[in-house]
């Protein structure tokens, strides 16, 4: 059951890896603005965090990369009722380092220089599933003129391209924004028509064990405040419908 804690405890946040840097910025801003303790952020694959939460992991809120896992937690009875909401919607992009883009996604993929295309594992990562849907829609999923390699996470899908082993990669817009903030990585993206894939809604839930910590509510309020939303949008996410 919920454990009573001193009010001075920081908020413990579990976050899907792709949202890690965004939540870091939100947390820093939250703490700067309110003078509260900076939330402690643990990132990981959504599935991993889900398993940990079911085994009593000490998290107060969970920002998942999908909707399924928060829903399951809800069914498991581990979340504060009514706390689930969509905090961001991801944007899938096609990325390659360096060169400027023109043309459509289809043209880009059919470029004879494209030998390897990386995606995240569709079975595990929502962005991977989205990439698969796009490829299916444009008829390049079965028997494509290139090899599709799968990263376990978006991060790996990105790395395949970053190391030059894949020419193109389906990744999240937010990643490219982060990457462009890093020195040495210059890149441009080709946005993908959101109708080609199911919306990448990412849900968050407040966990029951956080009941005694009032700071959790304040942090969640901040995240869904206009300032918070603006920061999320700036990171490359569409806002929730």
């Amino acid at each position: 059951g919920p454990v009573a804690r001193a009010a001075s405890e920081p908020v413990r946040v579990a976050v899907a890896a792709n949202f890690k840097q965004t939540i870091d910025r939100l947390a820093a801003e939250f703490s700067r603005k309110t003078g509260e303790l900076a939330p402690v952020v643990t990132s990981g694959a959504s599935g991993l965090l889900y398993s940990q939460i079911t085994q009593g992991a000490p998290f107060d809120v969970f920002f998942s990369a999908d909707q399924e896992r928060p829903e399951r937690l809800e069914r498991d009875g581990l979340v504060v009722p009514g706390s689930r909401y969509t905090y961001a919607v991801g944007k899938l992009v096609l990325w390659r380092p360096g060169r400027a883009w023109s043309g459509t996604v289809e043209q880009a993929l059919k470029d004879p220089l494209v030998k390897v295309v990386s995606i995240a594992n569709p079975a595990v990562a929502p962005y991977g599933a989205a990439a698969q849907q796009v490829l299916e829609k444009i008829g390049l999923w079965t028997a494509p003129p290139f090899r599709v390699v799968q990263g376990e996470s978006l991060g790996q899908a990105f790395q395949f391209v970053a190391t030059g082993n894949a020419q193109l990669g389906f990744i999240a817009l937010s990643q490219v924004k982060e990457a462009n903030a890093q020195p040495g990585i210059e890149s441009e993206v080709l946005e993908i028509d959101p109708r080609l894939y199911a919306p990448l809604a990412q849900d968050a839930v407040r966990l029951k064990r956080s009941a005694a910590n009032a700071a959790v509510g304040r942090f969640l309020d901040f995240v869904s405040s206009p300032q918070g939303r603006a920061m999320i949008a700036a990171a490359g996410y569409a806002s929730a419908p």
Binding site: Q21, G44, G155, A162, E178, G184
Partner: protein, 224 residues
């Protein structure tokens, strides 16, 4: 960059590796001795058992350990009773690492233990040394290279391991976030320069420690 070069994960990693290596030597030594010299007919089963954790992917092993040690696991009542929390805590990481590196301690030790000259053990017995005494006064000095190998492998393997640790809650900054996970996170977050810096530091540091260790060891042998 500043946050990246936070040294807490390094300290935590070294502590975890050291504690794990020590515990492994304590557990692994008698186990290896028994495997090498025991009389039971079922040694071969135990020997096979010791390696099993390694055939599973680390995260999967971690997943099972999480179920077993977690709040809703079958042994939860036990942990509650003794008031320790085994997941999302240092203790949990140690348990996971110990299980995961056990064969890398037991196997090399068993190998050298089998080579301890029987006439010397027998001589020690006739000179009044009981089994434990014989073990420490004859077998251990004759097996130093095996202990070194076991300690190095256990330490290094724990330093680099992150699957089990991640699963058991090893990513809470300042609490259970070890270096391997910190590096992994940096790579995942595309913070390559931070990842490179940490990796290079870790590799250089390990190399120095290992080189000194092996150098002293080779000296010792020449001097003997």
């Amino acid at each position: 960059m500043n946050a990246a070069l936070d040294l807490t994960p390094l300290a935590l990693s070294l502590r975890l590796s050291a504690v794990t290596a020590i515990i492994l030597l304590i557990i692994g030594t008698p186990l290896a001795w028994w495997l090498a010299h025991g009389r039971s007919r079922f040694r071969f089963l135990v020997e096979a058992l010791v390696v099993l954790p390694v055939v599973l992917p680390p995260t999967v092993l971690g997943f099972y350990l999480l179920q077993l040690l977690g709040a809703n696991g079958p042994l939860a009542w036990l942990w509650a009773l003794v008031e320790v929390r085994l997941v999302f805590s240092f203790a949990g990481l140690v348990i996971g690492s110990v299980i995961f590196s056990l064969p890398f301690v037991v196997y090399p030790l068993k190998g050298v233990f089998e080579k301890v000259p029987r006439p010397q053990l027998e001589a020690a017995a006739t000179l009044g040394a009981g089994p434990v005494d014989r073990f420490f006064s004859v077998a251990v000095p004759a097996s130093l290279s095996g202990f070194l190998a076991a300690a190095v492998l256990a330490f290094a393997h724990t330093l680099g391991e992150f699957g089990v640790v991640l699963m058991l809650g090893g990513n809470i900054p300042g609490e259970t976030q070890v270096l391997s996970i910190a590096i992994y996170n940096h790579v995942e977050q595309l913070e390559y320069s931070a990842a490179h810096a940490l990796s290079a530091g870790l590799v250089a540091f390990s190399f120095m420690v290992l080189a000194v260790l092996h150098f002293t060891n080779s000296r010792r042998k020449v001097a003997l």
